[in-house]
Amino acid sequence: MAKIGLFLARRLVKAAIILFFIVLINFALIRAAPGDPASVMAGEAGASDERYVELLRQRFGLDEPLHTQMFIYVTSVFQGDLGYSYRQGRNVSALILERLPATLLLTVTAFVFALAMGVLLGTLAAMKVGRWADTAITTLALISYATPLFWLGLMLILLFSVQLGWLPSFGFESVGAGFTGIDRMLDVAAHMVLPVLTLGLFYMAVYTRLTRSSILEIHDMDFVKTARSKGVTEGKVMVFHVLRNAILPVITFAGFQAGHLIGGSILVETVFAWPGIGRLAFNALLQRDYQVLLGVFVVTSILVLLFNIITDLLYTIVDPRIEVE
């Protein structure tokens, strides 16, 4: 246990240092792009005059020298303050927190769906290797892997919303329907089906292929043969002997995907008008709403760092031979 404590402490210190450089680099990168929020707003208004633009720049704090702005920003981030969006007239942390639940609901569901289906299909394919079930699953995985997300999303909308009329094509819920309790949950679930499928199919394909190839590799190893010859049933062999060993590459990739739970869904959120954080970030980029964009980056970076640590810990649980240093 002490070992794990030490491991955690060291990783957290490292993470803080990495975070510091991420914030610095992000700040510099964003400012390297041409245009600023004041000129964007002037452009959107369809008219402008100097005094108006100057006033905006002052209000946005853009009239300070760049290094001063950077210093102010970095210190406030490490005090837990993500700043204020002058464009939207609200605190960045409030904006992010408001959008976070919708994104998490979508991405976590897609994550669980992809992982469960992927491991299941991969295992099935490996057990029936070379037969039609294997061919069908591998083909499905290949198609899901190769199809661009936005196209898949639009095709799903065309089929299920326009042609069949079964599912809503966009939004988080039926606004104005006044659903409560279980009805509201079902309504949100109906809205989630298409975006979750769109987002989840790609990762499902990845997990399917990983699981299948990994199982096939382990399937004929000596310890598996020994287990079989001891008389362990085929099902138990698969779950306790094969899968447990085959799952490591899947965990590696799942840790990677989990890091992208936030911000990895910009495209899907756009196509399905999902009110999440990916769109918040994308709009902030187009509008040069620096504080919001940086805020999203900070939150995303923290999550990636966090999931890396969790993944490493998971390894040791699944495979006791791997030890934390």
């Binding site: 792009a33 041409p34 245009g35 600023d36 929020p37 000129s39 964007v40 707003m41 002037a42 452009g43 959107e44 208004a45 369809g46 008219a47 402008s48 005059d49 100097e50 005094r51 108006y52 633009v53 209000r59 464009r87 939207q88 007239g89 609200r90 904006l95 408001e98 959008r99 919708a102 639009l154 909308i157 065309l158 919303s161 326009v162 009329g165 809503p168 094509s169 966009f170 939004g171 988080f172 606004v175 104005g176 959120e269 756009t270 196509v271 399905f272 008008a273 999902w274 009110p275 999440g276 769109r279 918040l280 709009n283 980029l285 187009l286 509008q287 040069r288």
Partner: protein, 544 residues
């Protein structure tokens, strides 16, 4: 297509369909009672219902006095009102002003305000709110206020329901400066003595309009509900309006198709999707309601770069482009080929100017004259084009431009940016050619002269004279026309300036853009004035 209003009923007319015209004429004469008794029942406005309107992109805020983007106007136009509204011919109509007079010398504008108007928080609306908005609020927050109010000497309120605007010289365009996005009346009792942009009520708009703010679920929708104490008795008809945020253009078209939303406006729908949607029985396409905006699209030219400084070269580019082709194949027939700087649907337009036909041979002749001979690859000149990053249509336009100019020996390099980068480059004159479209606000003094006068060459300011074009005669004509109170004299001055500009081509006018307002046929009176769906929706109703 034209929409004729008869007692708040809209009939769609195809231009060539004489029968429909005759029918509508009968209806105009007889009223809507006798001829079609069944439709008369259905055409009586009905109360109730929820309207779903596409909103894109998401506005940064909904306080119309502080932000006047198109999406802000679409939502806030239901909550705020101005003194006047304008019909499709830009004639003023009553709004918060029930009557108004302009003195013969054009210097005094007197407005008599509606009585019994209240703000959404119950406070009474008075002339003090109007004076406060004109003299304190807008000058600080509105990008066009300083030019609209430049000739304003004083604004006074002789009593609670009268406001007098005194000008120091005649300025006939002034009557058009009372449209709701130019002059939204703001509540003095909330803003007086505060920092307007940092007021705590800025996330809860308070206006006098028929709909009041209910909630804004960011990234998802804005909800407005009927204001029960609205000053026009019996209105609005709708119970509530949802503005739905749908960021993807293809998804927006699908949402209209599946009837999940009722209305799209401006460039919500890409022109290439419009013919398909127009075929659907439950949708209709209306192109009126953009007369105040009157967008004119052009190729903007940086005159500081050779050979773009030579009028002959700009004429050559104009001759090289087939603008009918652009209208028909890129904008899918939406719009008119312009003859000059002033949009035909606004005021003071003349067609007595040189007309540029599509004539690539003439283009090459002009360049020969300039001494621009083709090199071994047939290239006479090379220019850089910055496409407008406002969606697929403008990419197609840029690609066509590259091909068309290439055919007469002008090689076009393309350079892509996003909207923020575009705004900065154009404002700072770091471009050679770009596409742009600019609103005219119904009158050349409000929205046209700013593009061409020397005074307005200001680096860092978008929608100024970013070309660097300067002709003192043009300046003089625009200046005199703006303050000329005699209509004939004024028309002559504007005609002259149009002729000069068409000759010198400071920019290459491509298209008088028409935006398609696509409306579900169950919705009536979606567009009744020159600002279209940005208007109050007080008269809009849904067939149940």
């Amino acid at each position: 297509m034209k929409t004729v209003s008869v007692d708040s009923v809209s009939y769609q007319l195809k231009g060539s369909n004489w029968w429909a015209r005759a029918t509508a004429a009968c209806l105009l004469a007889l009223g809507s009672g006798a001829l079609f008794s069944t439709s008369a029942v259905a055409d009586e406005p009905q109360h109730g219902g929820t309207l779903n309107v596409i909103l894109d992109p998401e506005p940064p805020m909904l306080i119309l006095g502080i932000n006047q983007q198109a999406p802000t106007q679409l939502v806030a136009g239901k909550m705020y009102e101005s003194l006047l509204r304008y019909d499709f011919e830009l004639e003023p109509m009553p709004s918060l002003a029930s009557e108004w007079e302009i003195s013969d010398d054009g210097l005094t504008y007197t407005f008599h305000l509606q009585e019994g108007v209240t703000w959404h928080d119950g406070e009474p609306f008075t002339s003090h709110d109007v004076v406060f908005t004109a003299t304190e609020f807008l000058p600080e927050t509105h990008p066009r206020a300083s030019s609209n109010f430049r000739r304003l000497e004083s604004v006074t309120a002789p009593d609670d329901h009268t406001v007098v605007f005194q000008l120091d010289e005649a300025y006939p365009a002034f009557i058009l400066a009372f449209e709701v996005a130019s002059f939204p009346i703001m509540p003095a009792h909330i803003y007086e003595g505060t920092d307007f942009t940092d007021n705590e009520m800025n996330d809860h708009p308070i206006g006098t309009g028929p709909f009041k703010f209910e909630r804004w679920s960011r990234g998802d929708y804005v909800q407005l509900t009927a204001y029960e104490d609205y000053w026009q008795d019996g209105k609005p008809y709708l119970d509530q309006i949802y503005f739905r945020l749908i960021p993807d253009a293809a998804s927006r078209a699908l949402a209209l198709e599946t009837q999940q939303v009722d209305i799209s406006s401006f460039n919500n729908i890409e022109p290439f999707d419009v013919p398909r949607l127009e075929q659907l029985p439950h949708l209709e396409v209306i192109t009126e309601g953009y007369e105040i905006a009157a967008p004119l699209s052009w190729i903007e030219i940086n005159h500081r770069v050779e050979p773009l400084d030579d009028p002959r070269f700009r004429q050559a580019m104009m001759y090289a482009l087939d603008r009918e082709f652009i209208r028909d194949n890129i904008f899918m027939g939406l719009g008119r080929v312009p003859t000059g700087p002033i949009n035909t649907v606004t005021i003071e337009y003349t067609d007595e100017v040189h007309i540029y036909e599509h004539d690539p041979d003439r283009a090459m002749e002009l360049m020969d004259e300039m001494g621009l001979e083709p090199d071994g690859n047939g290239v006479r000149a090379e220019v850089e084009l910055l496409p407008l990053p406002y969606g697929e249509t403008f990419i197609r336009l840029a690609e066509y431009t590259r091909e068309a100019l290439g055919q007469v020996g002008i090689r076009v390099r393309m350079r892509s940016t996003d909207s923020a980068g575009w705004a900065q480059r154009v404002a700072d004159w770091e471009y050679e050619l770009t596409n742009n479209f600019v609103y005219q606000y119904g009158h050349p003094a409000l929205g046209v002269s700013r593009t061409y006068i020397c005074d307005n060459i200001r680096q860092g300011v978008l929608f100024s004279n970013t070309m660097g074009y300067c002709n003192e005669e043009v300046d003089d004509l625009f200046a005199r026309a703006a303050v000329e109170n005699d209509p004939d004299e004024r028309a002559a001055l504007y005609a002259k300036v149009q002729q000069i500009l068409v000759e010198e081509l400071p920019v290459i006018w491509l298209l008088e853009m028409e935006f398609p307002t696509i409306v579900n046929t169950r919705v009536r009176n979606a567009t009744t004035t020159a600002i279209g769906v940005a208007d109050t929706f007080a008269d809009t109703w849904i067939e149940q």
